[in-house]
């Protein structure tokens, strides 16, 4: 789960990291009110999960409350890289003297945390890593000992941070690690950590991503989840417990198992179609799960045709077929063509059971080709 910037800043601020004063607004009026409270120049920032918001026009400065109203009005409703902006963060503008990067993330190859500081903040850190690897200092963290003081100092000095602010930066890194470790985080990053003209450090942006598998033991963070989705279909799918990702094509895809569903997407593309979504229905395929999955995909106006691809292992195909039939009982006529492919345990019984409302294909390749054809191929 990725928190929005304003949510992450709240968590960081509560832990003692200096952040600019600000609040989130859903309307231009609210933006003006917040700007009045803050007084002076404010930044108005789109709350969407995309990189490069600033370049796309999603971050603007305003020197008066009326100007805050105007720019909020521009940004709210703006589509940034396909994401609709529904909220803006209005916060005091920061006086920038220098920009640093401070972060703790999971190095999955090593299976442990890595703490990083760079003197080149404010730009994409992965690009910095490619172009100026020497500008990033890193320390891997042994989970048995956590981030040790000397390791913290080593990254801060190693990154060439000015001595005047080194202690403050160390403090921020220490807090970030504690948050990362205590909140089941994947990433806890501040980019940029601004050094102001007065020599203070302030988190001008904030990233806090939490392990989805650990939300059950992070109830306070889990509560923020609903607000964190920026696609209504993804929010609904998460509610139903599906692994779902919305894409921009017109071929709806439902299957069991992440790798198989991904491969189905790739095949749709391979045969000239364009996937509308990824939906992993998971193990088993009871009627209510099938119905929920189908209605979700049918509801998506982009979808022209749907492929339902199940490989039965422990899950028996005849059970899946019954699930599909039961789920389709409520439709006299299917809203969109549906191609079903069932393979594995009891596949023949399964295929025989299937209602005539659906088209049945035996091979994965055949099912995908047929669905692409039904979708018309022109997305």
């Amino acid at each position: 789960m990725r928190l929005h910037e304003y949510q992450a800043k709240q968590v960081f601020a509560d832990a003692g990291i200096p952040t600019p004063e600000g609040r989130v607004a859903g309307t231009p009026e609210e933006a003006r009110e917040i700007a009045e409270e803050i007084g002076g120049e404010v930044a108005v920032k789109a709350q969407v999960h995309v990189g490069g918001r600033g370049k796309a026009g999603g971050i603007k400065l305003a020197s008066t409350p009326d100007e805050a109203y105007t720019v909020a009005d521009e940004i709210l409703g703006m589509e940034i890289k396909g994401k609709l902006t529904e909220e803006v963060l209005v916060e005091e503008a920061v006086d920038i003297d220098d920009e640093l990067y401070v972060g703790v993330t999971l190095d999955r190859g090593e299976g442990e945390a890595v703490a990083m500081v760079s003197s080149r903040g404010g730009v994409n850190i992965e690009e910095v890593a490619e172009e100026y690897p020497e500008a990033i200092a890193k320390e891997h963290v042994d989970p048995a000992y956590d981030l040790l003081g000397y390791q913290n100092r080593r990254v801060v000095y190693g990154a060439g941070v000015d001595r005047e602010v080194a202690r403050d930066v160390s403090g921020v890194l220490d807090t970030l690690y504690t948050l990362w470790s205590g909140s089941d985080a994947d990433d806890a990053e501040i980019n940029p950590l601004v050094v102001t003209g007065d020599g203070d450090v302030v988190a001008a942006d904030a990233v806090f991503n939490i392990d989805d598998s650990a939300l059950y033991r992070q109830p306070e963070l889990a509560e923020m989840e609903e607000e964190a989705f920026d696609d209504p279909f993804e929010a609904k799918a998460s509610d139903k417990g599906f692994d779902y990702v919305r894409l921009s094509g017109d071929v709806g895809i439902i299957g069991n198992g992440a790798g198989l569903v991904m491969t189905t997407l790739d095949l749709v593309d391979h045969y000239g179609g364009s996937p509308a979504n990824f939906l992993d229905i998971g193990g088993g395929a009871k009627a209510d799960r099938v119905r929920d999955a189908l209605s979700l995909v049918f509801e998506d106006d982009n979808v022209e045709a749907v492929v339902f691809n199940i490989f039965g292992g422990i899950t028996r195909c005849d059970e899946v077929a019954e699930g599909i039939n039961e789920a389709l009982e409520e439709f006299d006529e299917l809203p969109k063509p549906l191609v079903v492919r069932l393979t594995g345990t009891n596949e023949e019984e399964g295929r025989k059971l299937l209602t005539s409302k659906v088209e049945v294909e035996q091979s994965l390749e055949g099912a995908v080709q047929r669905t692409v054809e039904l979708a018309g191929g022109d997305s």
């Binding site: 992965e126 089941d184 198992g257 992440a258 790798g259 790739d266 749709v268 593309d269 345990t345």
Partner: protein
């Protein structure tokens, strides 16, 4: 597993010690099961919140093999398991995997045995149902498997591609290796480096997730292309090709390429 021929000597469920299931004695702890029945491997089906504890218990009992089926173990739990693995000799397979099978002999896992046939192909995969699909594609051309290892779809796993490749390289039953990867991380890239330097057996590769957008988790906890664009299918396919691996675009093409090699 019993039906398939695996010698299941004990079950472990805390609080159920002394009972018997399908003729198999149940113990409260793994330690007892090892002491009383000489168990040398374990399969963990424990729910996510308690699974890492069960894995730790298996590592502590000094088993040769622990297969963790459970999906959804918190990453921070696996960070600790990963740390502990460095201190013990147990091989961990998974978590979030279907297990290991040697067709016709034994399986330690949950795959449905009847889709597998014995043969010369060693298959290693990050995904469960995609493994079935590939085994099915291979089977449609009459190609069987020496062993199949599901290493799991999580970001932090025990046995990785290189460990599995090494095992197939040493396995006299395996003539051709099939490596089934997916987006996320850099395990495939590292495997490619290993293949270039060490592999004497031909390798056919397949990578799922070419159409996955950055920043979105595609079902598996580990299947995510980072916002900065690392972990893409392209990068993995290129690395594998550069290492001399035959990379296929569809499951059927995997079978065709393997057929040319066996």
């Amino acid at each position: 597993m019993q039906e398939y021929g695996t010698d299941v000597v004990a079950g472990v469920t805390p609080g159920k010690g002394g009972e018997e299931v399908l003729g198999v004695p149940v113990y409260d702890t793994v330690e007892e099961a090892v002491e009383m029945e000489d168990a040398n491997a374990s399969v963990v089906f424990v729910p996510p919140a308690f699974a890492s504890d069960a894995v730790m218990e298996s590592l502590d009992a000094d088993l040769d093999l622990c297969v963790a089926i459970t999906e959804g173990i918190p990453k921070h739990d696996m960070i600790r398991v990963n740390r502990r693995l460095q201190e013990v000799d147990t091989r961990l397979v998974g978590p979030n995997c279907p297990g290991v099978i040697t067709p016709g002999e034994a399986k330690v896992g949950i795959m449905s045995g009847d889709i597998f046939d014995s043969g010369e192909v060693g298959l290693v995969s990050r995904s469960g149902t995609l493994t079935y699909q590939l085994v099915d594609s291979l089977g449609s051309r009459g190609i069987g498997q020496s062993s199949v290892i599901g290493i799991g779809g999580d970001p932090i796993i025990g046995t990785d591609f290189i460990d599995a490749l090494r095992a197939f390289e040493d396995d006299p039953e395996t003539e051709v290796i099939t490596l089934v990867g997916e987006i996320g991380g850099s395990d495939e890239e590292q495997a490619a480096e290993w293949i270039e330097e060490h592999a004497s057996k031909p390798v056919v590769g397949f990578v799922a997730g070419r159409t996955a957008p950055p920043g979105k988790r595609m079902g598996h906890a580990g299947a995510i292309v980072s916002g900065g664009g690392t972990g893409t299918a392209e990068s993995k396919m290129t690395a594998l090709k550069d290492a001399g691996v035959e990379v296929a675009e569809t499951p059927m093409e995997v079978a065709e390429k393997v057929e040319d090699l066996v």
